[in-house]
């Protein structure tokens, strides 16, 4: 028997929490001397009010789905992967190399090739910490943090000294060949005779992200491997009893996690920038932690949380672009959303439970 109905648990609680977060954000905006109502209007219309806004919202969402899934897969195995940032950076390198040095005949093949390369590079960057954890007992939280820094250094070196065209000021690769251009949603929509906001970065990678959600769901909740990952994540002695190898699961889970983080590069490097620049991940790896935790490590939850953060990113971007509110306000709103829906959700849940208990006893 549950303390309150399921719908209240998974819908009502987050919604009230979200409302609280926005309420406080409004107070912050007010304190800055701006009009919160106007700000909300800018954010909502900017992010959701047009296909153009959606084009950006969904682009960011795509990034966050990948990094969020990455964190959640590792989390199910009891591993806290803070290294999404570095793994996505390396994924970018893989995607760039695949796009630059393989003459792809068609984008669809390029997509598959680049996805494999990105995933492989990201997986490799997670493999080392995983191996160190499994075999040497090095704490994965430290090693993944360290690998973020090392990835930044490595990419810096490679871009500046190896991949940058001579004479270019920009520490970035040359543009990828046209054949690797991924169709954006607006192009796809146009081919069906529909209109979707021009020049928005959302592209077919969104479909890949949704597939990844489905894949992770099948993996974690439907497959034998997922069963073993979850069992290991809950209890190592029990896993041993059941014949589940801790080394194997640690490495596999981290490789999948790193691969998912690496896949993000298909979206931002191949789909959007069409070249690899420094710091292309832009903190999405860290947002992935929040997305995964808020999404309760369930692919569907991750999808919703990624959408929420996509909205905040785009809506907040619009706010910073078109009003005098500094862009850091978005960071604050994100923080409040994470805080209220993630860490303080009992603030809402406990009174709600009491309310439902009273109603049940009353009736």
């Amino acid at each position: 028997m549950e303390k309150m109905p399921k719908w209240a648990d998974i819908v009502l609680t987050p919604l009230i929490s979200l409302a609280l977060a926005f309420l406080i954000s409004g107070l912050v905006i007010l304190a800055l001397g701006e009009n919160p109502w106007e700000a909300v209007k800018v954010m909502v219309t900017g992010a959701l009010g047009s296909s153009y806004g959606w084009g950006f919202t969904l682009y960011y969402t795509t990034n966050f789905i990948f990094t969020g899934l990455a964190v959640s897969v590792a989390y199910h195995a009891g591993l806290f992967n803070i290294g999404g940032e570095g793994q996505a950076t390396l994924g970018g390198l893989g995607v760039a190399l695949a796009c630059l040095y393989i003459p792809w005949p068609h984008w669809s093949l390029a997509l598959i090739g680049a996805a494999c390369a990105g995933a492989a590079f990201g997986a490799f960057w997670a493999l080392i910490p995983a191996w160190l954890q499994a075999k040497r007992g090095s704490h994965i939280v430290i090693t993944t943090i360290m690998f973020n820094f090392i990835a930044a250094a490595l990419l810096n070196y490679i871009l500046v000294n190896l991949l940058r065209p001579v004479g270019s000021m920009d520490p970035a690769t040359p543009n990828f060949p046209a054949a690797t251009h991924l169709p954006t949603i607006s192009e796809i929509a146009a081919s069906f005779g529909m209109k979707w906001g021009q020049h928005t970065p959302v592209n077919v990678t969104l479909a890949l992200a949704l597939l990844a959600c489905l894949g992770v769901w099948l993996l974690i909740w439907r497959s034998r491997l997922g069963y073993e990952i979850r069992a290991f994540g809950k209890s190592e002695p029990a896993a041993l009893y059941a014949g589940i190898s801790p080394v194997r699961i640690t490495i596999i889970a981290m490789v999948i996690s790193g691969g998912l983080a690496g896949l993000m590069a298909v979206n931002n490097v191949m789909g959007e920038a069409q070249r690899l620049v420094m710091n292309s991940v832009e903190g999405a790896g860290f947002i992935g932690i929040a997305v995964a935790l808020m999404g309760r490590n369930h692919p569907f939850g991750v999808l919703l949380a990624a959408l929420l953060f996509g909205f905040l990113y785009q809506g907040g971007g619009e706010l910073a672009l078109w009003t005098s509110i500094p862009r850091e306000l978005i960071t604050v709103i994100q923080a409040l959303v994470i805080l209220f829906t993630g860490a303080l959700d009992n603030l809402v849940r406990m009174p709600l439970e009491r309310l439902f208990a009273r109603r049940r006893n009353g009736s």
């Binding site: 034998r224 809950k234 002695p237 041993l240 059941a242 014949g243």
Partner: protein
């Protein structure tokens, strides 16, 4: 509804010598009503037993008395005075001490540190520690409660950990001592020792409440006994005026068989053959020394011994895993095939493929994933069995219907396969594990402590199932620290001491004293002939 021993509590004035009076205590956890209107009166200077099935609400009631939980309603009188027990501090002040079923010790603290925790004399530890050291010496001498004050808890045996818990209460000058299933983890000798201590304490005028599932213990040490069922207090009687059978019936609400009926064994071909098995753990301690053991089809071999003498290691090695860094030698054959001791081929999966079932000693740590739903746990270890698979995916429907069947056949309560394992009581968790392992009809079943902390009804049930499996032709290795269990269930008894098999006996031809000697490492008379 309930009555104090002899007369009702109202008929005698409270001050006439009740150490504890509980009146109309109720407590629910969310939708679960753990205690309903409980009345209980315990005369000063007595040992009062409380029995009841798993989940009957015994622990909850005692936790309320100790201030760990707060009751929804009801009142508590200590020595006739109404006291408000709002937290454990107030209970301690009222002279109550409690030894929980799951010890509340800090594993990496020393004994002394655990003793003074919460009862320090001042802001600095040193004075408290030295006072406690002296006090401990005194208590140890007075009550035979020796324990090394500087040892870390994690290095102590469970029995010693329990002593620490008792010492904690005595150090706080408890007048009323509550013990929640104290003997579940003790060897018979340790349990006897504990009872001696309890009697000593009682004779000093202290009041003791003892929760246990073992009727023998109730009959042996208690003065009065109360029976709980499904959150209610169903009876309180003088121990001298009742019998185990009556108590068991009161508890379960039906007749129970205290002894499992079982036909004589008809052993067949050997299933398990262990030759010269030795193991040295990574700290260089020899855990198993040259163990030889054979178990045949249709026979139950009980492995008796004080815990910590290598039984755990033996079970783990047979189950396919052992602590990393251990050195192993010797030979294990199942149905004639040698099994690898270590390396990639030695894991639970391979052992299951070799038709070995395994009920581990610790159901919560090893046997179950506590957060998994029951239907996921009833496939645990068999996740790659063909009937649960559809390619790389698992067949949830098949798992669920399989679980529903097992739950029905093993009378798991509540019969809800969706419930997480942690939400079942200990006995029902154990039934889930036993069902999973027995129903696959393994050629060899390893069973570790099958009834630890399990109530009488469930014990009866689990024992029956084990005997049935034997009768279907399986070989069974039963490891237990309960001599009663070993004696009533085994067809042959092997005794383990310090990693060695000290000897084998037939249950009918041995005495508890004989076994006790072997368990202590002494070989009494010439060993009996083991049937070929």
């Amino acid at each position: 509804m309930s009555a104090s021993p002899g007369e009702g509590p109202q008929s005698r004035p409270a001050a006439a010598g009740y150490a504890i009076e509980l009146r109309a205590i109720s407590k629910s956890f969310g939708p679960v009503q753990a205690n309903k209107d409980i009345d209980l009166a315990v005369p000063r200077g007595t040992i009062h037993g409380i029995i009841g099935e798993n989940g009957a609400g015994k622990s909850t009631l005692m936790s309320i008395l100790y201030g760990f939980y707060r009751p929804d309603s009801g009142e508590i009188l200590i020595n006739g005075q109404r006291v408000a027990i709002t937290d454990s501090q107030s209970a301690i002040r009222a002279g109550i001490g409690m030894v929980f079923q799951h010890f509340k010790l800090v594993q990496n603290f020393t004994v002394l540190e655990n003793i003074i925790l919460g009862a320090e004399d001042g802001a600095l530890l040193r004075p408290s520690l030295s006072r406690a050291r002296g006090e401990l010496k005194r208590l140890a001498a007075e009550y035979e409660l020796q324990v090394d004050p500087d040892a870390l808890i994690e290095e102590l045996s469970v029995g010693h950990q329990q002593r620490v818990e008792i010492l904690k209460a005595l150090y706080r000058q408890a007048d009323i001592l509550i013990l929640d299933e104290p003997t579940g983890v003790l060897t018979p000798a340790e349990a006897d020792h504990l009872f001696r201590i309890l009697r000593g304490l009682r004779d000093e005028g202290k009041t003791i409440i003892l929760i246990t599932h073992k009727l023998r213990e109730i009959m042996e040490v208690t003065d009065n006994v109360s029976v709980m069922r499904r959150g209610e207090m169903v009876a309180s009687v003088r121990t001298a005026e009742t019998s185990p059978t009556e108590l068991a019936e009161l508890m379960v609400g039906r007749k129970v068989l205290l002894q499992v009926p079982k036909a004589p064994a008809q052993p067949g071909a050997p299933v398990l053959e262990i030759r010269g098995l030795s193991m040295t753990d990574r700290d260089g301690v020899e855990r198993l020394r040259n163990v030889d053991l054979t178990i045949r089809r249709g026979e139950i071999v009980g492995l008796a011994g004080v815990s910590g003498n290598g039984q755990t290691q033996l079970l783990e090695i047979l189950g396919g895993y052992s602590e990393p860094g251990a050195k192993l030698s010797g030979e294990i054959r199942v149905n004639g095939t040698a099994l690898p001791l270590a390396g990639p081929g030695a894991n639970g999966r391979a052992r299951r493929a070799a038709s070995i079932g395994h009920v581990p000693e610790d159901r919560q740590r090893e046997g179950l994933i506590m957060d998994f739903a029951a239907w996921e746990d009833t496939a645990f270890g068999y996740q790659d069995a063909p009937e649960f698979s559809r390619g790389a995916l698992m067949d949830h429907k098949a798992m669920q219907s399989d679980a529903t069947g097992k739950i029905a056949r093993f009378d798991v309560r509540p019969p809800n396969p969706e419930l997480a394992a942690k939400n079942f009581s200990g006995g029902n968790q154990q039934k889930l594990v036993v069902a999973r392992e027995i129903e696959r009809n393994p050629d060899l079943l390893l069973v570790g402590q099958p009834t630890r902390g399990v109530d009488i009804g469930a014990i009866e049930f689990i024992h029956k199932r084990i005997v049935e499996l034997r009768d279907r032709g399986s070989a069974i290795l039963l490891v237990s620290v309960e001599l009663d269990e070993i004696r009533s269930l085994s067809d042959r008894i092997a005794v383990m001491f310090d990693g060695r098999i000290m000897g084998e006996r037939l249950p009918a031809e041995t005495s508890s004293a004989d076994l006790g000697c072997l368990m202590a490492g002494i070989i009494p008379s010439d060993p009996i002939e083991v049937p070929a």
